[in-house]
Symmetry: C2
Subunit: 115 residues, 2 copies
């Protein structure tokens, strides 16, 4: 039987535990749709994410090399976020997931209502 | 600015909040790899998921029409799970995500180590 144990050597688990949280995905989708954004803009675009959760999510995405953070020496300091090239290379794959979801949403909703 | 508010009309949010948890993804990947499985087999294949979380995850996937549940009238009753056709149609898209992750994992790990 094929298993997917958390032994640190399973790339499927690694990617799913990293991308498999909706905030990471939403931040990536928001940055792709809007290009360069400031923290407050991202916060406004997603709305119901807490400041703390957005800070943590951006740090993880930055550490993974998917999002870049640029600080401008202004007063007050301006900080801008955008997708890196690696981050951009991920987006077509997220898009096919979203396209699948839009295509199948009617039958999923119908299935839910039957339960 | 394009936003992704939780107003109940955003399919991107809907799919991400549903698929965007690693347990759902792992259960789907496990069922794809192994075909028809009993509850205990799925539990063994993923190992660190709790019984309660696996039960909840399977119910959601069943309600969404991605996984089917078949009960055999035996003693003790045998219950088997497998992907539905809708569930199967989702898997190629999850696979491209996983393929991307395997391809980019070295640079992601390198980026993490630099932080």
């Amino acid at each position: 039987m094929k298993n997917f144990h958390a032994n640190g050597k399973c790339p499927i688990r690694d990617v799913l535990s990293r991308l498999g949280d909706k905030w990471s995905m939403l931040v990536l989708v928001t940055l792709e749709a809007n290009g360069t954004m400031r923290f407050r803009d991202i916060h406004n675009a997603i709305a119901d994410i807490s400041q703390r959760m957005l800070t943590v999510t951006l740090r993880i995405l930055e550490a993974d090399g998917l999002v870049s953070r640029k600080v401008y020496a202004e007063v007050p300091p301006r900080v801008e976020y955008q997708l890196t090239r690696t981050g951009e290379s991920l987006m077509p794959h997220i898009r096919t997931l979203v396209d699948w979801a839009m295509q199948h949403m009617p039958e999923i909703v119908e299935s839910r209502e039957g339960h």
